[in-house]
Structure formats: structure tokens, C-alpha cells
Symmetry: C2
Subunit: 416 residues, 2 copies
């Protein structure tokens, strides 16, 4: 049974989607600009609501890194507003496509159209409320947002401000809706509203994503969990290797494209490990090593099975010495979440083999896994990074928020 | 808990997929040719097994149209073998893609790669066993087949013959596997084997498809249910309208792109309905009409709510008189399964509005819905017709059995 109020949200979203599907790029851009301006105009109200969330989180003793993600500042709101303006300049994929003519004269046009209703389920960061709404709207979708309860007050104001601006600028009522009920049962129901929701995108920790994957009947795009590996081959350039490992682990350890496991080729382990070990130590990175690593690096802690499986999302790096490329590929095959993997080598054939055999959204040679990102790939803003194979893989931009429709022009053709 | 034997099938499929992912087009084509030849060589054994299935079905009193789908003949096996040879000439999408270079010199290559392990769950027709295996193999996927229990003996021999031919020609063991256990519990388990199966494609009746959508945690591509509509506008060319309606309803009423509901514009109802009514009667089509239709056509039976919702898949057509295009669009919006819809009109603006506003895999003007088909769209063989929006929509060919992978060539780049 679906809650009446949730059903109403679904109906409104579907109704709005029906109109949004053929809204012009011009009218969508006008709405995005109005939303960006409305955020700046309502800065005070947003900051007040955010203060309530932050105080409640501090009171609950939530850890500092999470509170930092939750906190908004005047500058932060300007950034959110600017990010929204950047969506305006992105090319609208709706209506793009190809056309061909069949021997019987039938003209078939494969055209990009919006998905319809997108439901986003996410955790603490309130900027996702605005980012997601902007990308969904620009691609002609209506959006149902369900953010983390820690950010509820902030999200309420943000969603109210942008939805109002979008509607006042002419987009249909219900194009942006926030679920304000924090009862988890509502999320369970939302995941099964196949008649109203076309796709669910969960964004957050592995727990949230697994809950959605396990329980949704609405199609899901799995995002985010990144158990990323770097393999330093015996033919690696040490300088590149050290730069890439330090960048992968320390530049922003809390994100999904950060490095979690380092695999080192046995023949260079005794030479390379002490060098990288020193630099990691300087960067306050804790090493969880395999027995061979602990033998070579006395300051390494022994790794447990879970260190190979779960993201640290912190200044901790799992390190394993492997006999060769085959063993590295086997380790990655076993533990990878299919997000991003990199090999550091100067050997052409081994680089090509790694790129070919690694099964991941992004396979790198001699570059940091931190590049797996919509902006860094050149797509503009992203709604998430897909780690599944269906529909979208890797950074998802506007195109991934659309589907296709075949438009067929005939003059009386029948099948014979 | 997953059955040990099913787990073994999953492991073998995954292992095979790891190798198949980079099998050359040449080696895959060689296997397909061997499979096509093996079918002809083993014709007697296949026919014998099929006779067992057909006799059992007759004994059970299964209806004739189903038995006809089940029955194989010598000519039928030649057709299946020829269809397999046609897959050889289709272009292999694996390895195709685009490449671009980022300002920092990073070269990003978006490349098509196989999905991995595809599970097909389907009903009576044994040719699906071979068609599905051929398309999955050509696109580099291993396949787990689970056909209808009525075709079990036929499928056992077909799967054995083609799997053996594929393996003998050099493809990895486990690339084609059939589940021979008929216990439905196994299907339930298969749908939740996320670690071993990358996508499930159900092909068959609405009941089967809904069971999979409701229970699978593995990503699903929904296929097939087609509640297709034709709207005859007041500005229609009657001749085209009659040809398209008769073709849609009678050319092959048992398939998903057959016409199920005819909507007629009120101003022409009194003039047009008797004309189409006569032709439908000649073709033995039973009309289930709305009250207005029954008023005009005395031989029409009154339609019930279910006639607007469910496919007849038979020589039955639901007919409704609607006041105008808006009402037709509303009816379609409410009852469509988003498969194929057509408008018959000579009016430019109404045609364009229909094409734009109808939410379906294929929207037609002045052509039969029966064209929604991989072959007729020019894609070659199809693995099904997707009625969902994620990943694939409409006829699915080889490309839809692949995903993408980003291959990134660096020379030491790090994120700043």
C-alpha cells in the first residue's frame, strides 16, 4: 500500500513530466536562471534553516567530516547558484538523434527524449538537492527528491525556493518536489512506485545503495561505491607512480574515485615500497599491508580481509604485494566495485592488457583514478557516477538522464 | 540461499564472460558458423526431442496456437540455422567508440564492451534458445538460458548442440548454459544473483515479465507487452487507415506490435466505422466497442474495462469513439504500455503533436505498428523489444547487449 500523500507526489510528478517532455530548451534555461537568482535572494532563509540542521547534528554528536558536508555558507550558496548557471550552458540532449530511411520509404528517426520522473535518494549534502533538480529539469525530467534527514531543514527551504522559481518562470507545477517525511517506510514505497517513477538514482554510502538495489522494483542506476586500485608494475616510472598514488589517496580521500588499494609488483616491492611508504607517512596515510608489505615496511599495520573489500574513504591505504600482472588482475577482478582502476607502467603490452581485461567504468594507464568525474571527463555537471552496466556507466551527465523514442514517418506503409 | 548447482552455473558463466569480453569478432563468427552447421547435422536428435515436447503438450491439452509455436520441423531447423548465419554478418559493436583529449593531455576513449552475463527467461518457442545464444555470443556475452518447461526436451538438445559447437570452435566453456531444472524457485534465485548475472531479459507474456520486474534485484530489461493503439483522425485518408488497421490487427495477431485498440475521431465515426467494420468482419475480427461504437455497428460486442487494458493477442479489436485528438492522447496516456502507437491523418500539425506527445518506444504517423521490429527497423536480428526507458527502448539488437567502458591514456596526470 502506498501512502496517499506519496501517491499525490507521484501523480503530480508524472503530470509535470508529461508537459516537461516537450518544454523548449529556452523555457528550461529561463527557469534555471530564475532558480539561480532565487537562491541568492533567499540566502538568509537558507542559512537560517541550515543552522538548525548543523546544530541538531552537533547535538547528536555526528562526526565532523559529515557536519562539514552539511554546512552551508554565504559563499557555498553562491557556488550552488553558479553551478546552476553552468547547467544553462550545457547542450540540451532532448530532440537530438539520427534518422534513416527504409527501402519501403518509412523514415525512422531515433530521438532523445526525457526519462520522465527521476527519483533521487541521497544523503547529507544539501547542494545535491539543487544540482540534481537542475540536471533533471534541463533534461526535461521532473524530479522527486529525498535527501538525508540531517539536512531536512536546509533541503526544505532549498527545494521550496527553486521549485517556486521554476514554476513562476512557467514550468509545470510539480516539476521539483521534496519528500519531507523522514519515515523510512516512505522510501520503501517510493522504490516500488513503477507507475509513477521511471528511474531511481541513489547517491550516498554503500548501505543506502544496497538498500535501494535490493528493494526497488523501479529501475535503478547504481552509483558511487568505488573500491579503486592502482597496480605499480615492475616497469613503472616511480616518479609517476608516487604522484598518482599520493594524488589518488590524499587529494580528497572521502570520495568514490579516491584510491583504496595499492598493488605492488613483487620484483620491485623491496625497492619501491620504502619510497612510497615514506611519502605516504609524510601525508599521514596509514598503511594496512599484506604480510609481505609489513615485512618490508615495519610501520605498516596488518591488513584484514575487510580492508580489501570496503572503501576506507579516509587517509588509510591497503597495500598488497602481488607476484605479477596476472595476480593483480585477479585481485582486482575479485575485489573491484567496477568503478576506476589504474596501472602504472612504461610497458606497452602490459598497459594494453590491463586496459582490456579490467572490468570497470574507467580503466587508466599512468593517471590518477580521481579523474573519473563528469567535469574532468568534459561532460559538465554530473548526477552521479554509475557503477552498473545497464543504461549508463561512469560519470552521468544530461544525456544519461534521457532515453530514446523512435518517431516513424509513413505514407500508408503496411507489413507484408 | 542459492542452490549450489545454480551457483556453479553462475560461476562458469562469469568465468566464460571474462574471456569472451575480448574474444575477436573472427573467433566469435567462427563459433556461430559451427553452431549453425551443428544444428543441421543434429536435426534428427532435435526433432526427436521436439516430438516428446509436442506429445506431452498435446496430452496436457495445451491450446493449438501454443503447440504450433513449440513444434519444430526440418524446415524450421534450417530456418533457425540460417537465422544464426545472419548474425555472423552483423557488425560487432564491441570495441567501437569515440575518443577525445582533455586539455591536460589525458586521452579518453569511450569504448563498447559486452555486458558480461546475460540471463534470458522465456516461454514456449525453442528457436529463442538459439537466437538469444547467438546474439549474446556475437556481442561477447555469456548467456544463461531458462526456457519454458513445455519446450524442455527440445531446448536441452538445442543448447547441448550449440554449446558444444561453440566450445569446440574455441570459445570458453560455459559461454552457453541452459537451466534444465524446472523448479520455479531456481528462477527466483537466478533473478537475485547480482554477483553473477549482469542483466536479465524476460521474454514472454505479461505474467512472466511482471514476475521478473517485481522480484529481480539484477537489472532487468522489460520486453514485449504491447497494448498498441491506432487513432483515426477526422483528416485521415480512409484508404490508408483501413490498410493500416487491417494490417495491424490481422497480419499476425499474436505478437506484441499487433494492434489492440482503435480510436476513432467523433466527427467521422458514423461515416468511417461502418466501412472499417465491414472489412474487419470479412477478416473474422470481433469488435469490442464503446457504447457509441455499438450504436453505429450493431454487430459489435460491448467492451469491458479490461478490453482497454489487456492485449487480446487474437482476432479481437477494441474500438472507441473519442471526441478529438486530445481525448485520444489521454486514452493512450492512460492505457498504453509504451510500445507502439500510430495516428492516421493528413493534417501536419496533428501528426506532429501526436509524435511529440505520445510516450512510447515507437510513435508512427500513417504506418502500421507492426513495423516495430529489429529486422524491419534495419538493425538485423533482435533479442526483444524493450518497453522500458532505461538502457534500451524499442527493438534491441547487438548494440543494446553492450555497455561502455572508459579507457584513459595518461602520462602521469594527477588531479589538482
Amino acid at each position: 500500500m502506498i501512502q496517499q500523500e506519496l501517491l499525490e507526489i507521484g501523480k503530480r510528478a508524472k503530470q509535470a513530466a508529461r508537459q516537461l517532455a516537450y518544454a523548449s530548451t529556452e523555457s528550461k534555461n529561463k527557469a534555471l536562471l530564475a532558480m539561480a537568482e532565487a537562491l541568492l535572494e533567499n540566502e538568509q532563509e537558507i542559512l537560517q534553516a541550515n543552522t538548525i540542521d548543523v546544530k541538531a547534528a552537533e547535538h547528536k554528536g555526528i562526526k565532523k567530516s559529515l557536519i562539514n558536508r552539511l554546512r552551508l555558507t554565504s559563499e557555498g550558496i553562491t557556488n550552488i547558484s553558479n553551478a546552476l548557471k553552468e547547467v544553462i550552458v550545457l547542450r540540451d540532449p532532448v530532440g537530438e538523434g539520427e534518422v534513416w530511411t527504409r527501402p519501403n520509404g518509412l523514415r525512422i528517426q531515433q530521438t532523445r527524449v526525457p526519462l520522465g520522473v527521476v527519483a533521487m535518494i541521497y544523503e547529507a549534502r544539501p547542494n545535491v538537492t539543487v544540482d540534481a533538480a537542475a540536471l533533471c529539469l534541463k533534461s526535461g525530467n521532473s524530479v522527486i527528491l529525498r535527501g538525508g534527514s540531517e539536512a531536512l531543514e536546509s533541503n526544505k527551504v532549498l527545494a521550496k525556493v527553486i521549485a517556486q522559481a521554476a514554476e513562476e518562470s512557467g514550468l509545470p507545477k510539480g516539476c521539483i518536489q521534496l519528500i519531507t517525511e523522514t519515515n523510512r517506510d516512505w522510501v520503501q514505497q517510493l522504490m516500488r512506485m513503477n507507475n509513477f517513477v521511471d528511474v531511481i538514482i541513489p547517491r550516498g554510502g554503500a548501505g543506502l545503495i544496497q538498500t535501494v538495489v535490493q528493494n526497488a522494483t523501479v529501475p535503478v542506476i547504481e552509483t558511487g561505491t568505488g573500491m579503486c586500485h592502482a597496480f605499480v608494475d615492475r616497469d613503472a616510472d616511480y616518479e609517476k607512480a608516487i604522484a598518482i598514488i599520493i594524488n589518488g589517496k590524499t587529494q580528497n580521500p572521502g570520495v568514490c574515485n579516491a584510491l583504496e588499494t595499492l598493488l605492488v609488483d613483487e620484483p620491485i616491492a623491496e625497492d619501491f615500497l620504502p619510497r612510497i611508504g615514506e611519502v605516504l607517512k609524510k601525508h599521514q596515510v596509514v598503511i594496512k599491508g599484506c604480510p609481505r608489505t609489513c615485512e618490508i615496511l615495519p610501520f605498516a599495520l596488518p591488513a584484514e580481509e575487510d580492508d580489501w573489500i570496503s572503501e576506507h574513504l579516509d587517509l588509510i591505504l591497503s597495500v598488497k604485494v602481488v607476484p605479477n600482472l596476472d595476480a593483480a588482475l585477479d585481485h582486482i577482478y575479485q575485489y573491484s566495485t567496477k568503478h576506476s582502476e589504474t596501472i602504472i607502467t612504461e610497458n606497452y603490452s602490459k598497459a594494453q592488457r590491463f586496459l582490456k581485461e579490467v572490468d570497470a567504468a574507467a580503466a587508466y594507464v599512468n593517471a590518477s583514478t580521481r579523474f573519473t568525474d563528469g567535469g574532468r571527463f568534459g561532460f559538465g555537471a554530473e548526477i552521479g557516477i554509475s557503477t552498473q552496466k545497464l543504461h549508463a556507466r561512469g560519470p552521468m551527465g544530461l544525456k544519461e538522464l534521457t532515453t530514446i523514442k523512435y518517431i516513424v514517418y509513413g505514407d500508408g506503409q503496411i507489413v507484408t
